[in-house]
């Protein structure tokens, strides 16, 4: 008797996915494993010594600088994610419930494909001391000295990261709001819910996972970004991401960089856990309620 149709389907599925699996194994899983192994190695005068040492981790964790840099990266991530979600939510709402076609959605997504670097560069042109804002303000006589705070500051970094992440956050929000069908909202209104109550009691709980997902994705990608703070953050803009990337450039200490990368990853996980716990604590998360 021939193999069952269901089994056959599964086998065909696995066979089709095999090349991609192999690719991801060789160029994603194994390298990540190698990175982890490297984080226990030692680097002595440009030579790598295979070892099983925690030196790199203790070195990072025992320096106050590491904490400061990590904190500054997390701050970038947090504010970027917060602004991106808050600013994109109304737009996502509008796209899902108020428009019929997808034109507006596409217009916004297309901007996502405008080069990442060009956007960083553009903000530098706009925010710089000889930049558009400062010169315009001076020409208008509103200020006499260029506002130095605009460029090379956390403000510049976060503004640019928000600009970069907005379409991505919007994409995630739109796809999670698409699960909240308009009928649910109509039903809630029919039962007497106000606009705010609809949001609080229907949209928020139903799109909760998508919202948290959008926030966390934006957070991780922004906190791990090293180019924007390096280029726009100025002296105080140094982050762990920049530190790590520097270790992998010329004359860097790869094992130390690898260890910091895993510490950063661990930090992301802790932040995610704390964030979810916080939402639970504030009773913002949907879940079982006891009706007594």
């Amino acid at each position: 008797m021939a193999a069952d149709a269901v089994d056959r389907k599964k086998i065909v599925g696995a066979a089709l996915a095999a090349p991609t699996f192999l690719f991801l194994l060789v160029f994603f899983l194994i390298p990540t494993g190698l990175l982890f192994v490297y984080s226990f190695w030692l680097a002595k005068s440009f030579a790598l010594i295979p070892a099983l040492s925690l030196d790199n981790y203790t070195r990072a964790l025992s320096s106050w600088g590491f904490y400061a840099l990590t904190l500054s990266g997390l701050k970038n991530g947090f504010w970027t994610a917060a602004f991106s979600v808050v600013l994109s939510f109304p737009a996502a709402y509008y796209i899902v419930y108020r428009t019929r076609g997808n034109l507006l959605f596409y217009i916004i997504l297309v901007s996502w494909f405008s080069s990442y670097l060009v956007r960083i560069y553009a903000w530098r042109v706009i925010l710089g001391s000889n930049g558009l804002i400062n010169t315009t303000l001076i020409q208008l006589g509103l200020i006499s000295q260029p506002l130095e705070i605009l460029l090379f500051s956390p403000f510049a970094t976060i503004l640019t990261l928000v600009h970069i992440m907005l379409p991505f956050t919007l994409l995630l929000l739109v796809s999670s709001l698409r699960d909240v069908k308009a009928e649910y909202i109509e039903a809630a209104k029919d039962l007497g819910a106000s606009q705010f109550e609809v949001f609080r009691k229907v949209i928020l709980p139903m799109s909760y996972k998508g919202l948290v997902g959008a926030f966390m994705f934006t957070f991780v990608l922004a906190a791990g970004d090293y180019v924007t703070p390096q280029f726009l953050g100025g002296r105080d803009g140094m982050t762990t991401g920049i530190m790590i990337s520097n270790q992998f450039r010329s004359s860097g200490n790869w094992p130390f960089g690898a260890a910091m990368a895993f510490l950063l990853l661990a930090t992301f996980l802790v932040v995610y856990f704390l964030f979810v716990q916080l939402l639970n604590l504030l009773k913002l998360a949907p879940g079982r309620r006891f009706h007594d």
Binding site: A2, D4, A5
Partner: protein
């Protein structure tokens, strides 16, 4: 049957792990008939059809088409074609190309394809629609294209998997008539899967009633309706009044059953005294009288009750009667001079001894 069967199933069994979907099905289908696989969802009717089509393999058993064992042949090599529940029309092809799909695979000549497809589209009354895009068709039109796409290959058997389920009521009745006409014109054997008893009785030469992976009863629609062999069959086809009780005695061709509101006489034999049985009486076989007009007249086959409601259904009227043993339904064609009985009337429901069917399971 004089002609040899076109489809033969022997011991067809299908199980997924410990769960048995089809249990030891034997079935012979005659050339040119319309056979319906009828049953509630999950009874295995669709799986059985898919085994005939070749989309599923049976765990045990054999499938023969025109006497040839096709059990191990893939669907593309079996001389059967299917009309899918949601049509499965190819969205990247127009109506003509959809219908021509099978002929092109058989490497038929261009002129022959043109001729055959055009003829087939005319048969399903879509001659004007050859160049239409699939997305521009209504549900009924899409159904016709699906039918033409399958029939154009001149299959030994046409399989129809709940083909009318997605259509609304009016079009469904129209399509049933169309299916009958097309069946007459082509003479193709139809195997039709449905859970709708109306479709089955209107369309079929024979009905195969299925339940829990097994065949419950096979017969013509009239046989199935008039002589159900099981409680399941009696309940599934049409409406019926079920009176349960036990056999108290049997004399010749008559069996007496205690139904809790007196005794009932049934023209049937062979059921031992003491057996738990059910009587099935169709609503239209009931006679209804006002109690005070008939009191004391009868000894058997009646139950007294009160009319609970009267349901007007166009050409007929249904009365629901609350009795001590069961809710009894009585049905009559709408009286020309209005309805004489009304809610609250005390009535006697009675029936003839040969109108009831005695069911032992």
């Amino acid at each position: 049957m004089t002609t040899p069967p076109i489809v033969e199933l022997y011991g067809v069994t299908k199980s997924f792990g410990a769960f048995t979907v089809l249990n030891d099905i034997d079935l012979k289908i005659a050339d040119g008939e319309i056979l319906t696989l009828l049953g509630p969802s999950g009874c295995g009717k669709t799986t059985l059809m898919r085994i005939v089509a070749g989309f599923e393999q049976s765990t045990h058993g054999r499938v023969l088409l025109r006497g040839v064992d096709v059990s191990n042949q893939p669907p593309e090599r079996r001389p059967v074609n299917m009309v899918f529940q949601r049509y499965a029309l190819f969205p990247h092809l127009d109506v003509f190309d959809n219908v021509a799909f099978g002929l092109r695979l058989k490497k038929k000549s261009k002129s022959e394809i043109k001729k055959t497809v055009t003829h087939m589209l005319e048969l399903v009354q879509l001659g004007e629609y050859a160049n239409r895009w699939i997305t521009e068709l209504s549900g009924g039109q899409a159904q016709r294209v699906a039918l033409a796409r399958a029939l154009v290959n001149e299959p030994s058997v046409l399989l129809l998997d709940e083909p009318l389920a997605a259509l609304d009521l009016k079009i469904r009745h129209h399509m049933l008539a169309e299916l009958k006409r097309i069946h007459v014109e082509t003479g193709t054997t139809f195997i039709y899967v449905t859970h709708d008893q109306d479709e089955a009785t209107i369309l079929s030469d024979r009905i195969v009633l299925m339940n829990k992976g097994a065949i419950e009863q096979i017969g013509t629609p009239e046989e199935m309706y008039a002589r159900p062999q099981s409680l399941f069959c009696a309940k599934f086809l049409g409406e019926t009044n079920i009176l349960s009780g036990s056999v108290i005695s049997a004399e010749g061709d008559t069996t007496y059953v205690d139904i809790g509101a007196g005794a009932a006489k049934v023209a049937m034999n062979g059921v031992p005294v003491g057996s738990q049985v059910s009587l099935a009486v169709r609503p239209e076989a009931i006679r209804l009288d006002k109690v005070r007009e008939v009191a004391g007249k009868e000894n058997f086959n009646f139950v007294d009750g009160v009319i609970q409601d009267v349901v007007f259904m166009g050409s007929r009227v249904v009365y629901n009667i609350r009795t001590p043993i069961n809710l009894i339904k009585y049905q009559e064609t709408r009286p020309v001079h209005g309805i004489s009985l009304e809610r609250g009337d005390e009535v006697r429901a009675s029936w003839a001894a040969d109108a009831a069917v005695l069911l032992t399971h």
